[in-house]
């Protein structure tokens, strides 16, 4: 008798699996829980990091930024650069770039008649700013700026509280001009916004670009050009073109180099997902090997008999591996189904606002949106099947290498 056809091996394995249905069911439950935990936890962590990255990149803003080479170390009005020139403008017309904006961004002090605060003053182009960074829905009172020569000011709700000021009132903003003279100007508050991360409300105040440039005697210069492309993972595809067009007099950097915390979080997450899946698998593998060892142990005589009747050792090996494969496949199917079934109802977000301030330290907001990624699911499934079969080889090989006579005589 040569090797059994696959169908026969499958049938034998399937029947053997259900000879001891309790053991099989417990093992299936363990695999299901393990696979569920792999995928569920990964989706939660991915969701958290996605949120962190999206918030972070929206706040930077943009996936790519251009600055004066010294600006990042010393964000001063002196480290400004000319507005984008023609070469850069045409480089930013590629389809990957969805939006770009140029901004003046300098440290400043804002004072009401009650109090003063240190802030970052942004001189923005309202039309393109809303495409790259500012979310119009966050305006809770008044309006956002209308154009770059708008003379109003938009501040955060928290900042308005701190300064005991309100929509329609006047505040004074002070900064320095390139000659280090104090540059100040009165602004009327035309809008109040409420940010996802409360700390932003106390940091940024928005004025029109031209108004701010006039106040700071900056001429046409800006502090940064922020360019957005939609997907943060694909920045490298279009970064080169922009870098080349922008030239060597300025510094053109992708988000993961501007905010290294964000960049390393993404890399760390990929590492974490792998480590987590492997740890869960290892915890599972003990039970898997145990189940197979017992299944072989109970059937020593039977295996001896089959060998005596002419079944090849390789067929026995395949049969045990097939049992393991069936067990893994059913467990994976159940685990995946339950993971998807538990994640989908949570798509609307999990409210974690009890620890909102803690999450803010990490840079995420108070709603957690699980992100089920196909790649992570494939990774988890592949690891379980491949490593699962590898760990099954040892018990299967032992079963295949019994001496038929000794095996038959075993009690």
């Amino acid at each position: 008798m040569s090797g059994l056809p696959l169908k026969a091996i499958l049938m034998l394995a399937w029947r053997n699996l259900w000879r001891n249905h309790r053991r099989t069911l417990i093992m299936l439950a363990a695999i299901t829980v393990g696979v569920w935990a792999m995928i569920f936890m990964t989706a939660l962590m991915r969701g958290m990091v996605d949120d962190m990255l999206l918030n972070g990149i929206r706040g930077l803003p943009g996936e790519v930024q251009i600055h004066h080479p010294d600006y990042r170390d010393d964000p001063n009005v002196n480290n400004s650069m000319p507005a984008p020139h023609d070469a850069l403008l045409s480089a930013m017309r590629v389809p990957e770039v969805t939006a770009w904006t140029s901004r003046v961004r300098v440290p400043a002090v804002i004072s009401s008649e009650r109090d003063s605060r240190g802030v970052v003053l942004l001189g923005v182009e309202p039309q393109s700013e809303v495409k790259v960074s500012f979310d119009l829905e966050t305006i809770i009172e008044g309006r956002f700026l209308e154009d770059s020569s708008d003379r109003g000011l938009v501040i955060g709700a928290k900042m308005a509280d701190r300064l005991e000021t309100d929509l329609g009132k006047r505040v004074v903003v002070m900064s320095q001009d390139p000659d280090n003279n104090i540059a100040d100007r009165g602004f009327r508050i035309v809008g109040v916004y409420k940010a996802k991360l409360a700390s932003l409300e106390e940091t940024y105040i928005y004025g029109g670009r031209e108004t701010v440039q006039k106040m700071l005697k900056l001429g046409n210069s800006v502090s940064e050009v922020a360019i957005s492309g939609g997907d943060y993972r694909n920045v490298d595809r279009w970064l080169g073109g922009i870098q080349q067009a922008a030239g060597n007099d300025v510094e053109t950097l992708p988000w993961y180099e501007i905010d290294t915390y964000l960049g390393s979080m993404l890399a760390m997450m990929d590492g974490f997902v792998l480590v987590w899946i492997i740890i869960v698998f290892l915890a599972l593998s003990f039970g898997l090997v145990n189940t197979l060892v017992m299944a072989v142990f109970e059937r020593v005589r039977e295996i001896g008999l089959m060998q005596a009747l002419g079944m090849r050792p390789s067929t026995i090996l395949y049969q045990i591996l097939m049992e393991s494969l069936l067990l893994l496949l059913i467990g994976l199917a159940l685990g995946n189904a339950i993971a998807v079934g538990t994640i989908i109802p949570l798509q609307g977000g999990i409210d974690i606002s009890v620890v909102a301030e803690g999450m803010e330290m990490m840079g995420t907001s108070s709603m957690l949106y699980p992100a089920l990624k196909l790649n992570d699911m494939i990774l988890a499934n592949l690891i379980v099947i491949i490593l699962g079969l590898l760990t099954s080889i040892l018990p299967a090989w032992r079963a295949a290498s019994y001496n038929p006579i000794e095996a038959l005589n075993k009690t």
Binding site: N20, R22, R23, I26, M27, A29, A30, V33, G34, A37, M41, L44, D73, D74, N76, N78, P107, A108, V109, E113, R114, D115, S116, R117, G118, V119, D161, M174, Q176, N180, I182, T260, Y261, G263, S264, M265, A267, M268, G271, W276, I279, V280, L282, A283, L284, F286, G287, N290, T291, V293, M294, F297, V354, V355, E357, G358, M359, E360, M361, M362
Partner: protein
């Protein structure tokens, strides 16, 4: 009892491989639990210590409402004498008064809007690590001198060094214009970019002068000897404040709610992961024990026929599990201790940790710290869940009929 224990021990080794595989699952989980719990508890402690020591302190006295809305006018009258009274009450020098204001700070070349802190030169070094981190120049020479101490990044950005003059422009306590100058006498490097970039300190006497504070300040920082003594120190401080009901004492959990919550969030998500490991171990135990009970149906039938009570057999199964889990606990915890101890000496890091560490005020290398709690917490939960898992196989024995059991295959 001893006979049950002896039987349990022998029964376990009837299937050596199976027992070791089950114990192996426990060892693996315990090893991971000991290591990660030690790492977590150690880094929480460090996160709290580093964050609080640099500036916030263990607790602060403030005017009610200041913490939510830190306004210039929510101030404490006669703050220096109040700080003195708190010091006497606690018998502890680690009490320092501070004032907080905003000012446009200009050097010859640059201007920045900064938070300016007025501090008591004599006591500030006892509540904060910053004065000890001065790398150039020195600390304040008096309470009323026109001196300023700034962070290293700020000094670089302002382009000033020791002896240079800074101009301060801001608004005073009553909203009036406040202006003054101060000489840079010290530059500190904390390594925390945010602090080095934005912190500036004046002696509190000069601070009060400059901002028209008239003896007022904004908070009194108090450090207890240890985190665990914060609560009792808080009670004691409250008694000093009896005649000042506009003031409150806030501990670090209220001052830095983010810190506590970050720890909570991390702890919760970690326990979800530990829970999964523990459940998987429990399944392993359930499987092993259920199989070992089913195999012995005939044997148990005979024992019952000989007069052994089901309860005795049940306790035998539980004892077997306890011995097995005990082995897993001992070996797992031991290996966990060895591994964690080794890493607590050489330290370890992983790619990307530096940025993460800086965000949470942690050092660049992690040193997990072993404690009885961090060693025993994980393994004992595994132990308990293993015992729970063996209840079902044990209960089955109560439904065994000796006659049918003896005939079982």
């Amino acid at each position: 009892m001893t006979i049950t224990l002896r039987m349990a021990w022998r029964n376990l080794w009837r299937h050596k491989r199976r027992t070791w595989l089950t114990v192996g699952a426990m060892i693996f989980s315990n090893l991971i639990l000991v290591f990660s719990i030690s790492l977590q508890l150690g880094s929480y402690q460090m996160m709290i210590d580093n964050s609080l020591k640099s500036y916030t302190g263990h607790m602060q006295i403030q005017r009610e409402g200041y913490n939510e809305e830190p306004k210039m006018r929510s101030s404490i009258d006669a703050i220096i004498s109040l700080a003195g009274r708190v010091r006497d009450q606690l018998g502890n020098e680690s009490v320092a008064a501070r004032g907080v204001a905003f000012a446009m700070t200009s050097s010859e070349e640059r201007s920045y809007g900064l938070q300016i802190i007025g501090v008591e030169p004599e006591y500030e070094p006892k509540v904060s690590t910053l004065p000890g981190l001065i790398t150039r120049g020195g600390y304040f020479t008096g309470l009323n001198t026109e001196e300023i101490i700034i962070g290293a990044v700020l000094a670089r950005n302002l382009r000033v060094g020791i002896g240079d003059e800074l101009t301060l422009l801001g608004s005073g306590h009553d909203g009036s214009f406040a202006a003054g100058i101060a000489i840079v006498t010290g530059i500190f490097e904390s390594g925390i970019a945010e602090i080095d970039r934005s912190m500036a300190q004046l002696p509190i006497g000069y601070f009060q002068d400059l901002f028209g504070m008239e003896g007022r300040g904004h908070n009194i920082v108090i450090n207890a000897a240890d985190l665990s003594e914060v609560e009792s120190a808080k009670q004691s401080v409250s008694s000093v404040l009896k005649d000042r009901d506009e003031l409150v004492v806030l501990d670090w959990e209220l001052l830095q709610p983010g810190l506590k919550q970050a720890i909570q969030a991390d702890f919760t998500s970690a326990w979800f992961m530990y829970g999964v490991l523990i459940v998987l171990v429990a399944f392993s135990v359930l499987n092993t024990q259920l199989m070992s009970v089913l195999e012995r149906t005939r044997e148990f039938g005979v024992m019952m026929a000989l007069g052994v009570k089901p309860a005795r057999l049940g306790s035998l199964v539980i004892t077997e599990t306890a011995v097995m889990s005990g082995l897993g606990l001992a070996i797992g915890a031991l290996l966990g201790i060895v591994m964690t101890w080794y890493l607590s000496i050489v330290g370890f890091s992983y790619p990307g940790m530096e940025d993460m560490a800086e965000r949470f005020n942690l050092p660049d290398r992690m040193y997990p710290s072993l404690s009885i709690l961090s060693i025993m917490l994980g393994p004992s939960v595994v132990f308990v869940f293993s015992l729970l898992a063996s209840i079902y196989p044990a209960i089955r024995l109560f439904f065994l009929q000796p006659v049918t059991a003896m005939r079982a295959v």
